[in-house]
């Protein structure tokens, strides 16, 4: 099911939560809505589900304008952040709920429902747990039951709100891989909300980066990591350091040092340079390099992390393969091999 969000705006008590957002989701795609809290990502997801109605704009499911369809009519599978399992019902009854509440003529026979429930429990790797209650399951198991319940109604689209937010790190990683498998098996168009960039980059076909009610960038993991369209995206996704620079004729200067990174055409004068810690080399020659002093150095697995304060007083983080780099202290010269230059007016810092 293609989903098309067209110029949607949403206000809560005159406070705008989304400004003029447009997004096309292709059938079968796995999409992540990524952003800090307050960025509007959950509001967008709830608008797609029909749990909120847009103040302006329209939402299309395929060719059909679904904007005034109620959540029940839209036939979406929604997985809530805290699962919202009905705690007085067994796991089986929870999963069967969406089928049992159908009007008589569309309700499958009881045997059919039971078969479907056990099939779904197999899909989510929880076979035979029909008779248990939600309180008897772990967080990860509840999350999978919530997904099975959403899938039971054969939704046109699967929507997940921070699906792994409440789980600990190991369970998160397992469930992430498993969600990808379920998606590939069932082929549902899937949209999930997350504030965890690692989760978004690993799982999604495309990542929608949001900030302050606007979409900052839509693209693949490579796009948003390697070619971030704004300082916000650069600093929100992955680690980064920022330096004030000046651009003269395409050449980027930090103080007097002419750096080997290039600026896009059209940028001139004062600008902001964003660097990834692994795109910086340590060189022995001060020419075209940034002079600085190592203030801290520590080992992180196969990497060594250095905190460097430049002669201009700015902090830069550098990571190097530990094997190539002995413990360094004192004065160093840094040469960035890659970086992004944004005009000084461009707004945004993560957070």
């Amino acid at each position: 099911m293609d989903i098309s969000i067209r110029n949607v705006r949403k206000e809560f008590d005159r406070y705008p939560a989304l400004h003029d957002v447009s997004l096309d989701i292709r059938s079968g795609e796995l999409i992540a809505l990524l952003g800090p809290s307050g960025s509007g990502k959950t509001t967008l997801l709830r608008l797609i589900a029909g749990l909120e109605y847009p103040s302006e704009g329209a939402i299309y499911f395929g060719d059909e304008d679904a904007s005034d369809r109620s959540v029940g009519e839209r036939n979406v599978g929604f997985v809530f952040q805290h699962y919202a399992l009905f705690k007085h019902m067994t796991i089986g009854a929870n999963i069967a709920f969406g089928l049992k509440v159908r009007p008589h003529d569309r309700r499958p026979p009881r045997v059919e429902i039971a078969r479907k429930v056990s099939e779904l429990l197999n899909l989510v790797h929880l076979p035979g747990l029909e008779r248990r209650f939600p309180s008897q399951l772990s967080g990860g198991q509840r999350q999978r039951v919530a997904l099975a319940r959403a899938l039971a109604i054969e939704p046109r689209v699967l929507l997940l709100d921070e699906p792994f937010g409440a789980l600990d790190a190991q369970v998160r990683r397992d469930l992430r891989r498993w969600l990808r498998e379920v998606h590939d098996q069932t082929g549902h168009t899937t949209v999930f909300v997350t504030h965890d960039q690692e989760e978004a980059l690993e799982l999604a076909d495309r990542v929608v980066v949001m900030s302050q009610g606007r979409i900052e960038q839509i693209g693949s993991a490579d796009d948003v990591y390697d070619r971030p369209s704004s300082p916000f995206v650069f600093s929100f996704i992955g680690e980064s350091s920022e330096l004030p620079v000046s651009v003269r004729g395409g050449q980027v200067f930090y103080g007097d040092a002419a750096l080997s990174v290039t600026a896009n055409s059209g940028i001139e004068g004062t600008a902001r340079l964003f660097l990834r810690p692994h795109d910086i080399e340590i060189v022995h020659d001060g020419d075209g390099a940034i002079a600085g002093k190592v203030t801290a150095s520590h080992r992180d697995g196969g990497l060594r992390r250095l905190d460097v304060v430049t002669s201009g007083g700015h902090r830069i983080e550098v990571t190097l393969p530990a094997a190539q780099c002995p413990d360094i202290a004192g004065d160093v010269y840094l040469s960035p091999s890659r970086g992004q230059v944004y005009p000084a007016g461009a707004d945004g810092k993560a957070g």
Partner: protein
């Protein structure tokens, strides 16, 4: 398209249905059961005109009854903010046989019909009855005197104080006291400076709740009070007396004063609860 969405929003502020029905039912009921009747009282008393109204409520017997109601209620609430927190403390901190039953029975004054409480307390303190002879010997008169009113109002108000203080006390960590002890505080200092301050909002809220209830109380008081005008006649009783004389104007006048007091107490209680929520995260 945009227009249809806008009308939709007016009708449906949330996807959960039933708002109009639920709120409509609530407001209609509230209007019919509570607001219109109270409005009728206010209209009746405003029809009296200021001078007549003042003459009615400044009548010496009315003033005396209000003084009795207020004085006895304040006294009873004062007794309860001494013994209420004590009971809460004992119930929260100590284990003794029968604790659960005592804890459950703290709510008895809520659950016991006031008339039952009234005749029971009267029998307990009346001359020639249970405590009567003993009290007579030491020369204390409780039943059929203002002291009896205070006794009844202590009974009525006790659960309000205990039940507002108890949860705050239960959440007060033992570690606070241990911390105070490691810092060199003695037991008295710990109680005064560590335990009591967080309880103050709850105690005050309990005091206000008990006071509000006591001022309006009728059933438990009228049996034990003796109901002597100018001495032990409470304001709610005077309303009933005037009503039985078909003196609707006088009854309305006193009732209006009582109603204003109720509103004032409600406001005070709400402010106290907001304050204690802000201070400690507790409502009443």
């Amino acid at each position: 398209m945009a227009a249809s969405i806008n009308t939709l929003r007016l009708r449906q502020p949330s996807v959960i249905p039933g708002f109009g029905l639920a709120l409509g039912l609530t407001l209609t009921y509230l209007l019919l059961i509570v607001l219109i009747p109270i409005g009728a009282l206010i209209m009746r008393s405003s029809a009296l005109g200021w001078s007549d109204f003042l003459k009615l409520v400044l009548d010496p017997r009315v003033v005396a009854s209000l003084k009795t109601s207020f004085g006895c209620s304040l006294l009873a609430a004062a007794v309860n903010i001494v013994f209420g927190p004590l009971l809460a403390w004992v119930l929260v901190r100590y284990r003794f046989p029968g604790r659960t039953i005592v804890d459950a029975m703290i709510d008895l004054p809520f659950a016991l019909p006031t008339a039952v409480a009234g005749i029971a307390l009267t029998t307990l303190y009346a001359p020639n009855e249970w405590f009567g002879p003993v009290l007579e010997k030491v020369g204390i008169k409780i039943a059929f005197a203002p002291a009896g009113i205070v006794v009844a109002l202590v009974f009525i108000g006790l659960p309000f104080v205990v039940r507002t203080v108890q949860p705050v006390l239960a959440d007060l960590e033992n570690e606070l006291e241990e911390a105070a002890a490691t810092l060199g505080a003695n037991r008295l200092q710990t109680v005064l400076h560590v335990i009591l301050p967080p309880l103050v909002p709850a105690i005050l809220t309990g005091f206000a709740l008990a006071l509000a209830r006591a001022i309006g109380e009728y059933g438990s008081v009228i049996f034990i009070a003796g109901n002597l005008p100018f001495v032990s006649e409470i304001a709610p009783l005077l309303i009933v007396v005037r009503l039985e004389e078909f003196n609707y104007a006088a009854a309305t006048g006193i009732a209006t004063v009582m109603l204003v007091i109720s509103f004032a107490m409600l406001l005070i209680i709400n402010l106290l609860q907001a304050w204690s929520r802000r201070r400690l995260g507790y409502g009443g």
